[in-house]
């Protein structure tokens, strides 16, 4: 009797697997899905690799090499998004000569999906940034800069959503306080709003209104400020918000060897990452999704 039940159960299980397999081909509902997030920050016009005599970064970096790496990862997983967390401009004569044209054109060739705006992206003034927008085949997001009374109006969205392999990904941008950091003559009528309140709104909009499976904050507010621990930073943002899965940061040129795991306002884990500067590294975070899988109270298993 017991044996009979066992056989029945195993037959059912086999059938389920079989049907599941069939389902994969016809509706692809039940396999594990993987979204790969690749990111850079503070590349600062470093298009060529550092020279062999450089004291710190000899033979490192280079856009053409980054292109190869991104291409290989996209071949391995087409469901990949490539992001940049700002300060694309300023740092080599390429910027002085071409005003960011080459940076945007190359990022378009690498098929960047979205970028946010850093303080140095205002270095040729907001008009200098606007002038290069036609060269960018990717979008800019910033939720806390209000560009309404500037030439950038309508060229920057608060957030953008993507659907990859049926997974909905929402990405919003955050920028640093400009007053005291950038000459007003440069940013003109750009209005800065406090990042944490904006992030709380954005994550709710993306999670609840847009039903995003993954919410990413693309930030240029800085990783953390040890001498002013209360200053708004990615770490403080991670702790003060909910429903954000990943914060991709910039500004402080923080070379994190691996993403930091923080705990958000409702006790869930959130990843914070930043890959230093100058295109020396590419950050990579892979999210695996399983249908209806019961996740543990503390969330998914994180391997960093």
């Amino acid at each position: 009797m017991k044996r009979r039940q066992f056989i029945q159960k195993s037959t059912a299980a086999t059938a389920l697997v079989g049907l599941g397999g069939l389902g994969l081909q016809s509706f692809s509902p039940s396999k594990t899905k993987k979204i790969t997030i690749l990111h850079t920050n503070d590349v600062h016009s470093h298009i060529d690799p550092f020279g062999p005599d450089d004291g710190r970064n000899a033979n490192k970096g280079g856009v053409a090499r980054r292109a190869t790496l991104v291409e290989n990862i996209r071949k391995e997983n087409p469901n990949t998004l490539l992001l940049d967390a700002g300060d694309i401009f300023q740092g080599t004569p390429y910027f002085n000569y071409y005003g960011g044209e080459l940076e945007f054109k190359l990022m378009s060739m690498l098929k960047y999906d979205v970028a946010t705006i850093g303080n140095h992206d205002f270095d040729n003034g907001i008009d200098g940034l606007y002038a290069q927008i036609p060269h960018a085949k990717f979008d800019f997001v910033s939720a806390n800069y209000d560009f309404t009374n500037t030439v950038m109006d309508t060229h920057v969205k608060p957030y953008k959503t993507f659907v990859r392999d049926g997974i909905k990904i929402g990405i919003f941008g955050l920028g640093i306080q400009l007053d005291g950091l950038v000459d007003k003559k440069m940013y003109k009528e750009t209005v800065y709003h406090h990042p944490i309140e904006i992030a709380q709104d954005m994550s709710r909009i993306l999670k609840e209104d847009h039903s995003c499976d993954l919410v990413i904050c693309l930030s240029h507010i800085g990783y953390e400020y040890r001498n002013s621990p209360n200053r708004v930073s990615d770490i403080n943002l991670a702790r003060a918000t909910k429903d954000i899965d990943l914060i991709v940061g910039g500004h402080t040129h923080t070379f994190l060897p691996k993403p930091t795991i923080e705990t958000n306002s409702v006790g869930k884990k959130v990843l914070v990452n930043q890959v230093g500067a100058f295109g020396l590294y590419l950050g990579r975070v892979d999210f695996y999704f399983e249908p209806g899988k019961k996740v543990q109270a503390e969330g998914a298993s994180i391997m960093v």
């Binding site: 599941g20 509706f27 509902p29 033979n59 000569y97 190359l106 990843l271 020396l280 590419l282 298993s301």
Partner: protein, 250 residues
Amino acid sequence: MTIKHTLKLCFLLFIFACAPLKVSKIEGKRLDIDKSLTANQEIEAFIKPYRERVNKDMDSVISYAPETYSKSDGKFNTAIGNFMADAVFNEGNPIFKQRTGKNIDFVLLNHGGIRAIISKGNITTRTAYEVMPFENSVIVASIKGEQVNKMMAYLSKAKRAHPISHQLQLILDSNGGIVSATVHGEPIDPNKIYHVATNDYLYNGGDGMDFFQPNQGVNVLDYKIRNVLIDNFKKKDTINPKRDNRFIQQ
């Protein structure tokens, strides 16, 4: 029984298909961009004409340095710092005079703003980009003598070779106290207005220099410090900067 089972299975599958997707696992890592990666040839070819154009300019010889000059060559003044401050005066004053009819009294820059050495040998445009990679521009602040005195107090405490032009002389005693501070050989008059050229970073309080505010007027020359250097290099076949007595300790 079979039908019953099939129905159950279909129901299960339905649940399976519609169940919301949950993140089950996250992996994060940092990938090196280095020699181990082959450069993408399409990208490389795209960059090439831009690189050649920039390098052609960067590598063009505009002057000659008989020695190597570093910002660590002296405690209170250095040849490279003196060169830069005097260059800002020499290139900036004609513009200021044309606009206002007045002369710049002296120049103050910051030691940290010298970003590289000038190596012995040919000076190229790249040298200017290395010494001054930032886009900072010359700004002339008209400040009262009392503010200039605050500046002297700052310089005496900072004990760094912040570049000043030759019109200013500051002498400290062995304890760092001010022995004399003169502009054009005259003591600083607290009520007189001095036209001090600096860069926009310092004007806005960079390096703790809070003496440019308040002021009696400001003139933005729209002239980048780097372009000042390039223009100044081009005027000289060979540069000859010297450490001197403009800022010393007795």
